[in-house]
């Protein structure tokens, strides 16, 4: 065949027939797999992700933690590990806790981060507190699908989970096919470290991208960062929107939350397999899995039936209930939809006391 630029030759007629083709295919696959695996191993975690510096800290201090809190932003902005440790110390239960929360994590992303943490060398966790997952398929598909962060959690396991959920999803088939395609594509991008070459080279050359948390901050706060200390455009907009109409808006949102909390899910679309796999992986690492609901401003209608059905290892403490914890839903304790430092400290004390009571 003619070749452009004559950079390759148009020689050979029937090169590699029969056995030759098998050798060629195997050689190609081996070459591809080796370089892809090397690239995967060398690809740094996304630099805009709070989990990345936290993982680096845990690698450096694997023996400094025995209790882990993991979940979305309402975990990140709510658990103050030094406060939790102080309360538990006073209750005669010394603990060294760590906040592994990060903004905007989907359940699959949390699961992926959790598995990565559990695989760290030398880390011996006693308890892992996990934000109770809903495994809602669609929640993992949003405008962030094209980001490095989203690609990062598309391990073969998570992609398979997403595809399995297709069967149960109550959506038009076209949407399902589109969603499946997006996850398959991200799985491919991750497996091949697509477009990560420059980051790999920069990382190998010792270049460090700016991270959302410094190691000193993590030393001090153990993974917590107060919502009011975040100086990004997005955070400022969030705060402005909240403050604009806070006096009327917050009570209204709280009333709405109370009403929506009464709705109970029938769990017909719940991925119990994913939940069981998560429990297994935590237990296999020698830790006890515990679930909870952080002081978020949204309902979690799947939690009560999960607990009542005996699917969870514990009766999860629920903190998105303004009637039970009114002090966490006031202007004094909220910065935007998240708690402020003061609110986080109040919450951490309540949570630590709950932990101690459960242990008793």
């Amino acid at each position: 065949m003619p070749t452009d630029d004559e950079s390759t030759t148009a020689a050979a007629d029937a090169r590699g027939a029969g056995g030759g083709r098998v050798v060629a295919a195997i050689a190609w696959l081996v070459g591809f797999a080796l370089v892809a695996a090397a690239g995967r191993a060398l690809t740094p975690w996304p630099e805009d992700f709070a989990v990345t510096p936290k993982l680096a800290w845990l690698r450096e201090h694997p023996d400094a933690v025995d209790t882990l809190f993991i979940g979305k932003s309402h975990v990140f902005r709510s658990f103050v590990p030094p406060v939790v440790d102080e309360v538990l110390e006073k209750r005669g239960r010394p603990t060294r806790s760590f906040n592994m929360g990060a903004e905007g994590m989907s359940d699959c992303e949390i699961d992926h981060v959790l598995r990565t943490v559990l695989e760290l060398d030398g880390l011996q966790l006693d308890t892992v507190w996990i934000e109770t997952p809903d495994w809602v398929w669609r929640s993992a598909v949003d405008e962030n699908m094209d980001t490095n962060r989203s690609v990062n959690w598309h391990t073969p396991r998570q992609v398979a989970r997403m595809l399995r959920r297709l069967v149960y999803l109550d959506e038009p088939w076209r949407d399902r096919v589109e969603l499946a395609w997006m996850h398959l594509r991200n799985g491919w991008l991750r497996a091949t470290s697509y477009g990560q070459g420059r980051r790999i080279v920069r990382s190998l050359l010792g270049h460090r991208e700016p991270q959302p948390l410094t190691q000193e901050e993590i030393d001090r706060e153990r993974g917590f960062q107060a919502a009011e200390e975040v100086d990004t455009t997005e955070a400022r907009i969030r705060r402005e929107r909240f403050a604009e109409n806070a006096e009327e808006g917050l009570p209204q949102r709280v009333r709405h939350l109370v009403k929506r909390n009464r709705i109970v899910d029938d769990l017909s679309h719940y991925d119990f397999g994913a939940l069981e796999a998560q429990l297994d992986v935590v237990r296999a690492a020698g830790a006890e899995p515990r679930y909870f609901v952080p002081p978020a401003m949204h309902p979690t209608q799947w939690v009560a039936p999960l607990a009542e059905g005996g699917h969870l290892p514990n009766d999860p403490p629920v903190f998105n209930d303004p009637q039970r914890h009114p002090q966490l839903f006031t202007l004094e304790t909220r910065w935007d939809s998240h708690l402020n430092r003061r609110g986080a400290e109040v919450f951490s004390r309540i949570f630590a006391n709950t932990m101690a009571r459960d242990d008793d």
């Binding site: 003619p2 007629d13 477009g195």
Partner: protein, 468 residues
């Protein structure tokens, strides 16, 4: 669906596997035709009807052109084919340009212009397949080709997906005979095809798409940058365009090759051209040779006085520029190249060079040709009049008030690409590569593919030539 997308990989694997899995050649052609329409429909299925229309018109014109009782009407049929094809192209691609230009002229004269612009979407690849079908009827008219008897074969020639949307512009005389000979997988040089596809992917995804970011940054506000940045961005743009288009051609040729079909060469190391005439014999060869055979030579070529030849050259190159897009910038681009070709002819007629000065003259020629071509790309790029003039002033007159400096992270690319290009041109590793044991060659290809994916630009950039 871009050749660098994961979607295309999945699509091609299915197309390839079913194609070679089918026993009968007719079934294979049916399958490829179906794949081609699916491929084209992935952009906008409505435009499949346009290809169908073009296919039917030219298929029937082709048959009518050889009917004994139609001998006196042959000119009519070929005119119908030319008008239908150019009419479709003219409407979808140039209608708004002519209306806007007419409106501008009438307004300048203080008159009202009767027509209005329409909301027309340019069908992807229309310039490519229009020229392909035109070559079919014109070749039959000239007696160089027998009309094809199978509508399916002709439809496949027009719609064959590897070359459908961005060329190379395949001549009927080259492609149709391949459809009458059954394809054999054993006849496919898989190693060469995979190598070529990988080279094309690297050019497009790793070089062109990465350069696009810097180039776009400069051309967004050229007045803000200094002269060094102006040269840097202009050279980057030349490399970007080259890698984009030749990369696409490589992947198209390789995809077709894997399916057992040969497509023509589209680039012959254009950046090693020693003059602008030589450049056009190396750049987008399928278009330049099409224009030579179906426009320049019928116009009279160089078989006349010098002014006559210059008129033909100018017409051909201006139309070549205009083929690229409906804008005055493309016409100016073509005119600049025509002026350069004419200047070169004049200079050659009066110079007194000896053989001893040849290597140095060639080197100077290569550098000058590249510099000129890159400069004309400033006009080619649709940035608007003011930014274009700013960029030209900085590039050609070294005059700008800008002080910003572009990122120099890609500067190493130039010597690296020059060396690779030189090695490829001299075929330094070609023999070794051909003789390499199967497991070594495919192992390297696999590793190279994985590495290419890692260094691809993160976001897919549409191919620049799709807009043409």
């Amino acid at each position: 669906m871009l050749f660098t997308e994961f979607r295309y990989l999945a699509f091609f694997l299915v197309a390839f596997a079913v194609h070679w899995g089918l026993k009968r050649d007719g079934a294979r052609k049916n399958w490829l035709l179906l794949c081609s329409y699916v491929f084209y429909g992935a952009w906008d299925w409505r435009f499949c009807s346009l290809i169908l229309l073009s296919t039917f018109i030219d298929y029937n014109c082709g048959r009518m052109l050889v009917r004994p009782d139609q001998a006196t009407r042959r000119r009519l049929w070929v005119t119908l084919s030319v008008c239908a094809n150019l009419g479709l192209l003219g409407f979808f691609k140039y209608y708004n340009f002519f209306v806007e230009s007419g409106e501008g002229l009438f307004t300048w004269l203080g008159l009202d212009f009767p027509a209005r612009t329409l909301d027309i979407v340019l069908p992807v690849g229309i310039s490519f397949y229009t020229f392909q079908t035109l070559s079919y009827t014109i070749d039959i008219y000239r007696g160089n080709l027998r009309p094809v008897t199978s509508l399916r074969d002709f439809a496949l020639f027009v719609g064959f997906f590897p070359q459908l949307v961005a060329g190379p512009i395949v001549r009927a005389v080259d492609f149709l005979p391949q459809l009458s000979v059954p394809r054999r997988l054993a006849g496919v040089d898989v190693r060469a095809c995979l190598t070529l596809f990988l080279i094309g992917f690297v050019k497009k995804a790793c070089v062109s798409d990465n350069l696009a970011v810097v180039v776009d940054e400069y051309f967004a506000s050229p007045a803000a940058y200094d002269v060094v940045s102006s040269w840097q961005a202009t050279f980057y743009y030349a490399v970007q365009i080259y890698c984009d288009f030749s990369g696409y051609s490589d992947m198209a040729i390789a995809s077709a090759g894997l399916l057992g079909y040969e497509l023509c060469i589209n680039f012959r190391f254009p950046f090693f051209a020693t003059n602008i005439g030589d450049f056009w014999r190396r750049w987008h060869v399928s278009l330049s040779s099409w224009l030579r055979d179906y426009l320049y030579i019928p116009l009279g070529g160089n078989r006349g006085s010098r002014p006559f030849t210059y008129r033909n050259l100018t017409l051909t190159l201006v139309l070549c520029g205009f083929w690229h897009g409906a804008g005055w910038n493309y016409i100016v681009f073509g005119a600049l190249h025509a002026a350069a070709v004419i200047a070169r002819v004049e200079w050659r007629a009066h110079r007194n060079a000896t053989d001893a000065s040849r290597p140095l003259a060639d080197l100077v020629g290569v550098l000058l040709t590249f510099w000129f071509f890159a400069g004309t790309l400033i006009v080619f790029r649709p940035s608007g009049l003011a930014p274009t003039l700013e960029a030209l002033r900085a590039y050609a007159l070294l005059d700008t008030a800008g002080t910003l400096r572009l990122e120099t992270g890609f500067a190493w690319l130039f010597p690296a690409l020059a060396v690779v290009h030189l090695l490829a041109w001299r075929r330094t590793f070609a023999t070794a590569w051909e003789r390499a044991p199967t497991w070594v060659a495919y192992g390297v290809l696999g590793a190279g593919s994985a590495l290419a994916l890692q260094f691809a630009a993160r976001d897919y950039q549409p191919f620049l030539y799709f807009q043409f």
